[in-house]
């Protein structure tokens, strides 16, 4: 008996048989199809966008974490500013697709005070900076291999995929969530909306 990953994978997916058992005669859901295709990796997200109207937004996001360069950043650092949080890691294929757009949007909106932060879930510093070099990313990223920042975010709007992009309004509340690749035009519109709205709290 070897406890290899092979048996791990077997055991893993075997368990979902129970759920498939009952949906046996219905159409297969996308997840089951993905499992069937053999690409049992993370859930990539389908690019679905959820925007939250100002009056239904939850409380201001509060978190604190360490960037790859060692500085500690918390929500106080973006108080009063529109903030974009992007969950990523270097080998994540959809992240690599949206990275040039994020880089461009950062260049476009930084002069207007919009803050960008990456939340890197898997990489060591050197690997992360190689990615940033590749795509000309200028904004910093949290080193979140242990998932503490993701966990802090689950109290507000949970990132359910990699990549996930959150846009916080000037009050630090989640204004929108994009699961999967962020379309440049969509994200631009969301950021502009957030910029246009007046903040209620003082910086």
């Amino acid at each position: 008996m070897k406890l290899s990953l092979l048996s791990r994978r077997q055991a893993a997916a075997a368990a979902i048989t129970a759920s498939l058992l009952l949906s046996g005669c219905t159409a297969q859901d996308p997840l089951a199809e993905k499992v069937n295709a053999g690409t049992n990796s993370y859930i990539a997200g389908d690019g679905s966008v959820a925007e939250y109207a100002a009056e239904i937004r939850g409380p201001a996001v509060q978190l604190s974490g360490e960037l790859f360069d060692g500085t500690t950043v918390s929500n106080a650092d973006w108080a009063g500013q529109v903030t974009v949080l992007n969950v990523w890691y270097a080998a994540c294929a959809p992240c690599r697709v949206e990275a040039p757009d994020l880089s461009a949007l950062h260049a476009e909106f930084e002069p207007q005070g919009v803050q960008f932060y990456g939340i890197n879930t898997r990489d060591e510093a050197a690997t992360a900076s190689a990615f940033e070099r590749s795509f000309g990313i200028e904004y910093p990223s949290f080193k979140d291999k242990n998932g503490q920042i993701l966990l802090a975010l689950t109290d507000y709007v949970p990132p359910q995929a990699v990549p996930t992009t959150l846009v916080l309004d000037k009050d630090g509340r989640v204004a929108a969530r994009i699961l999967g690749i962020a379309e440049k035009s969509t994200l631009t519109a969301i950021i502009e909306d957030a910029l246009a709205a007046p903040g209620t709290e003082k910086p």
Binding site: L3, R9, T17, L21, A130, F131
Partner: protein, 542 residues
């Protein structure tokens, strides 16, 4: 004219089957489905239908093997797939069989339960006129002068039957031929109903788990941690009605992973202990605590359990690119392929410039070289860790946005730099060694070695229900198979010469192989009782 040309008879008799309206058809179909014979046939069909799932690789368990199987058998593979033989337990036909079986079961259980409810509240049936027709029958003659009246005899019999667990009813007392009707073993039917109802409960519990539960995998390297949120998982399988709120916000860190291998010559290299030393937190606000995770000993976080499913080595790698920058740094998990932990490894450096770099090969914990110069692993412990790699350059396929497994690299579109058959040969890296890639494409360094654990994290809200219902099923089964449902009738009368005649008959309902024994026991209890009573009588009145 011959007899073949008979005049048309009554048209009603002309049709072979009586005409059934739609309602009649339905009733007929329902009666067929809920008949014992159909249930039995469905049961046997279910057994047969389950077998192919063990003969062919199954997608839910091992999708990669299925893909391989279809590739290897281009003729039969697609046909087997068409008949869902790689998804047996979710296939239309398997589902159809068990769903029909359960409908049949429900259609059987409900009327039987109602019938039993009635039986529980009613009295034992009337005494048959001719007891001698029953499977067990006997007579007793009590001598005259014992003062045993028929009524008295029946009362005695009723008492003895009651002591033996029968529900009794006296009938025709005061007449010439009083009798007692008795029945026992109502639990047999109750147990049967409990068993079958519990089966439905088990199925419902499985469904609940499949709808509201989730399961995910996470590989954690020593020194690293995990927090329970969807993006943190390597793979995540939510139930069909999964609510992200079901994710308990626990976190854990793998401090150390200890593996002990058997060093007895006869069983050399077998693992005998896996121990993961963890620091866990039930939620960000709770105090961290130390836990030990072992195989068979999961750690629980309020209904969500963490299981130690696998483990392996993660060599620490640094890849420098052609421009001298670090393109990749950190531990890369290798997948063990055998008990000696000889593992496959895939290293991708998509941010290497000018060209992306990829490596595919083996990791051997203790590398040895055989007489042909081929490296092989000889021990599961890392006495001489070694990487044997081929290297590639080109587009690794990550930039078009399609998720690919981190454990796979499609090399068909890539340019190979290193390999056994190439002039530069394959890359062989011992610990702390660096290899310079040809053409100044960069370098790779083997910096160190860590162990990792593969965890399954499972939340199954149907689990408790499944346990309760299977326990009930087992209890019901034990009761129904060990109790006997029996009816006993005893009738008494007075012979002309003054003797008291007693006759009894027994009837079993369902399987009962000790009915004869029971008859003997009742008979001897009565005999003993009346003998004793008579003796006492004689002594009392000398």
């Amino acid at each position: 004219m011959t007899t073949t040309n008979l005049p048309p008879q009554n048209p009603r008799e002309d049709v072979a089957l009586p005409r059934l309206g739609p309602a009649g058809m339905l009733r007929w179909a329902w009666r067929q489905l809920t008949s014992m014979k159909t249930a039995l046939q469905l049961l046997l069909l279910l057994a047969v239908a389950a077998v192919p799932g063990s003969l062919f690789p199954q997608r839910p368990a091992n999708p990669a093997v299925v893909t391989q199987y279809i590739q290897d058998n281009p003729g039969t593979g697609p046909w087997l797939d068409r008949f869902q033989l790689f998804d047996v337990y979710s296939s239309v036909w398997f589902s159809a069989i068990y769903l029909l079986l359960f409908i049949s079961l429900i259609g059987c259980v409900i009327p039987r339960a109602m019938q039993h409810w009635k039986a529980l509240r009613s009295q034992p049936p009337r005494t048959p006129r001719r007891l001698s027709r029953l499977p067990e029958y006997g007579t007793m003659t009590v001598a005259a002068g014992t003062a045993l009246t028929p009524d008295r005899a029946i009362e005695d019999a009723a008492r003895i039957l009651r002591q033996r667990g029968y529900r009794v009813q006296l009938r025709d007392t005061g007449t010439d031929l009083p009798s007692v009707a008795a029945e026992r073993g109502y639990l047999k039917e109750a147990g049967n109903l409990v068993f079958h109802t519990a089966m439905i409960g088990v199925l419902v519990s499985i469904a609940v788990g499949g709808m509201f539960g989730y399961r995910g995998q996470k590989l954690i390297i020593e020194g690293e941690g995990f927090t329970n949120s969807e993006p943190g998982y390597d793979s995540f399988f939510p139930g069909t009605s999964f609510n992200p709120g079901a994710l308990v916000p626990f976190s854990l860190t793998l401090n150390n992973f200890d593996v002990t291998f058997d060093r007895k010559p006869a069983s050399y290299g077998n693992p005998i202990d896996f121990t993961a030393d963890m620091t866990v937190q039930d939620s960000p606000s709770d105090a961290p605590r130390q836990e030990t995770l072992r195989v068979n000993e999961p750690i629980g976080f309020g209904g969500t359990n963490v299981y130690l499913i696998g483990n392996g080595y993660a060599p620490e790698i640094t890849v420098r690119d052609g421009e001298g920058n670090i393109a990749l740094q950190g531990p890369v998990p290798a997948l063990p392929t055998d008990a000696t932990y000889n593992s496959t490894i895939v290293i991708k450096a998509p941010d290497a410039r000018p060209d992306q770099l990829g490596f595919v090969g083996f990791f051997l914990p203790t590398a040895m070289v055989d007489e042909n110069g081929v490296a092989f692993g000889s021990d599961p412990d890392p006495y001489n860790p070694q990487l044997n790699l081929n290297s590639y350059t080109g587009d690794l396929g990550l930039d078009d946005g399609n998720p690919v497994s981190v454990y796979q690299l499609d090399t068909t579109e890539l340019t190979q730099l290193n390999g056994r058959d190439l002039p530069d040969g394959g890359i062989v890296l011992g610990a702390y060694q660096t290899y310079e890639l040809p053409d100044g494409k960069g370098s790779i360094t083997f910096d160190g070695l860590k162990r990792y654990v593969a965890l399954d994290i499972v939340y199954d809200p149907g689990k408790a229900g499944a346990l309760v219902f299977t326990t009930l099923a087992l209890l019901g089964l034990i009761i129904t198979l060990t109790t006997a449902r029996r009816r006993v009738w005893i009738r008494a009368g007075k012979h002309e010469d003054g003797r008291t005649m007693v006759e009894y008959g027994l009837l079993a309902r369902g399987e009962d192989h000790s009915l004869a024994k029971e008859a003997i026991r009742i008979g001897s209890a009565l005999t003993t009782h009346w003998n004793k009573a008579h003796d006492q009588n004689r002594q009392a009145t000398p």
